[in-house]
Amino acid sequence: MDELLRILTKLHPDVDFTGRADLIDAGVLDSFDIISLVAEVDSVFDVRIPAEEIVPENFNSAVALYAMIQRLADE
């Protein structure tokens, strides 16, 4: 989780990612950020996020994002 928070903070240093659950709904992460995030997750966690997983429910919070990464890693 710490590694993920580091990646997120690198994208937006001014955002507190631990307490937010509206990253997509509030427009904090745009589509460019999401693609950067997918590339980072691919290289750091060795987990491939397919296009169908790019939905607000998976990207609205760091917790949801981490849960998705774990689920995909288990598959």
Partner: protein, 535 residues
């Protein structure tokens, strides 16, 4: 049968009455019949195209569903017979095999349907370009243009059905077994002409469930329809004469008149397209069917990205979900990104794939709008501005760190005006429909200083009289006023529905009266085509 024709109003009235009079089980079959009648009136031969799309998508969907079900059954059976370690590897292998089979059906169906779209919509554009190349090389040979009529709404219904198939392939929902239900999803007449491009899981529930007559719901839908007619007939069709004069005479109307034409066209397109969508959503609402919203005050956007989140939302999300994201996160693109990061630097590696996907997505968005270079230029210009604004973000951040203007009303107003001017400028490609001419006319805004002529009476000789400007002023004031009321007090129609019956009735009649009195009719009135019908 145009939305603003008397025939269409009568058609909707008959369908609505039958919808609530007939047994509830007959509601969706009635809508299917009505949709096919509507499409038949538009062009009997068009039925062949839409039926081919429905049947091919339905069959491919069934096959994809069956492969998925067979794979799930195998995986279940394997659970009892294999060890835990084996199970994971076997499961992954079987899943990959099933996915490959499903992908074959998906790709075949996508090729078939986008192939139809390509042939009917883009053949002549391809022939035009081949002929231009032949002429450039001095060849006297020329290919003949095809005489194929473009089926009404083909871009919209193809995108709708292909989203159904891709979502099904992605496991979002099971396959629709009833071909007639898929036929209604594809051909639902209120959204056949200009969208919104609904998703199957979003529309299907309310489309197929039974609805009982609810006076408030029907009246609310009727009010939304009237609001759409108001925008279309009072604003869009009235300003049309002025837009046409300014755009069709580029030698006569340069400089300041390009700016006026550009802003007039922005208003016309907004009123025309959102008005059409209001009519679509209103008819659906009358029938108890929930259709996705397509706009969210786009002219209050503060930058281009924000604008594309608010304008033609269902089209934007379609390109995002089915082109931009899949292309950006495809393995070869991620590998390219990684390679570029290692060899050419972190910043370049991060940008390269996203920008490539942006350009491809906007190229596709442009050509979706029309088979000509001006639409491609329009799409690429949008992509270019999005990339440019992304590149300028560090500059903006430094600017805002130094000047604390962000969020202040005056600066927000500046951002809104800037976005309106920027988006309207890009739309000049759509106005003049000729790329070199568009650049030339855009340039005259800065080189021909004839802004004084805006006040010498010329604007009263472009097909718009003083009375027309007065009506447009009223229309614009109502448009802006309705938004202000919505922002301050919530949805106006919801408040109206909660209020006394006489207020609801009075408001409805006031809207009807405004359309009848202020609408652009007159001698020889002919219902004007909606701009987005042609896409």
């Amino acid at each position: 049968m145009l939305f603003t024709s008397y025939a269409f109003v009568a058609f909707v009235a008959v369908v609505a009455v039958l919808y609530y009079v007939l047994p509830k089980k007959a509601q969706w079959p009635l809508l299917l019949l009505a949709s096919y009648v509507f499409y038949f009136i538009a062009g009997p031969s068009f039925l062949i195209y839409i039926t081919a799309t429905v049947v091919s998508t339905w069959y491919a969907g069934l096959r994809i569903g069956r492969i998925g079900a067979a794979h799930a059954a195998d995986a279940e059976a394997g659970k009892a017979t294999r060890s835990k370690e084996d199970r994971k590897a076997v499961k992954a292998k079987a899943k990959a095999k099933a996915k490959a089979k499903q992908r074959a059906w998906l790709v075949a169906c996508l090729l078939f349907n986008f192939g139809i779209l390509a042939v009917v919509k883009y053949s002549n554009f391809a022939i035009f370009n081949v002929n231009s190349l032949l002429a450039a090389f001095g060849s006297p040979d020329k290919l003949s243009f095809l005489t194929i009529a473009l089926p009404m709404g083909i871009s919209f219904y193809t995108f709708k059905t292909m989203s159904y198939l891709i979502d099904l392939y992605r496991g979002k929902f099971p396959a629709e077994r009833n071909v007639f239900r898929l036929a209604l999803f594809t051909s639902f007449f209120p959204q056949l002409v200009q969208g919104p491009i609904s998703r199957f899981d979003d529309l299907s529930k309310s489309l197929f469930e039974e609805h009982r007559f609810d006076r408030r719901v029907v009246l609310s839908g009727l009010q939304r329809i009237l609001w759409g007619f108001f925008k279309k007939l009072v604003i869009a069709d009235r300003i049309l004469a002025g837009v046409t004069t300014l755009i069709k005479n580029p030698d006569q109307y340069t400089g300041a008149f390009v700016l006026v034409g550009m802003l007039f066209y922005a208003l016309q397109l907004y009123a025309d397209f959102t008005g059409g969508i209001d009519i679509t959503i209103g008819i659906s609402e009358m029938l108890g069917i929930k259709v996705a919203e397509n706009f969210n005050a786009p002219f209050l956007s503060r930058n281009i990205t924000d604008y594309w989140r608010r304008w033609h939302i269902t089209m934007g999300t379609w390109f995002r979900d089915y082109i931009f994201y899949p292309m950006s996160v495809a393995q070869p693109m991620l590998r390219l990104s990684r390679w570029c990061r290692e060899k050419l630097g972190e910043g370049f590696g991060k940008r390269v794939t996203v920008y490539m996907a942006t350009i491809v997505t906007w190229f596709a968005t442009g050509i979706w709008h029309g088979s000509s270079w001006n639409f491609i230029a329009w799409g690429l210009a949008n992509g270019f501005v999005i990339i440019l604004s992304h590149e300028c973000e560090p500059l903006y951040k430094r600017f805002h760190a130094r000047f604390h203007w962000k969020g202040k009303p005056a600066y927000t107003a500046f951002e809104v005006v800037r976005t309106v001017l920027l988006m309207s400028s890009i739309r000049l490609f759509d106005c003049y429909r000729d790329v070199p001419l568009t650049f030339r006319m855009f340039g005259t805004m800065f080189t021909t200083f004839n802004y004084g002529r805006l006040f010498d009476g010329t604007l009263l000789k472009i097909g718009l009289s003083g009375a027309d400007y007065a009506v447009l002023g009223v229309g614009l004031a109502v448009l802006i006023g309705s938004r202000v009321v919505k922002d301050r007090t919530g949805d106006f129609r919801e408040r109206l529905a909660a209020g006394p019956a006489w207020v609801r009735t009075a408001a409805t009649f006031a809207l009807i009266l405004a359309i009848l009195v202020l609408g652009a009719y007159g001698i020889g009135y002919d219902a004007k085509q909606f701009i987005y019908n042609q896409f």
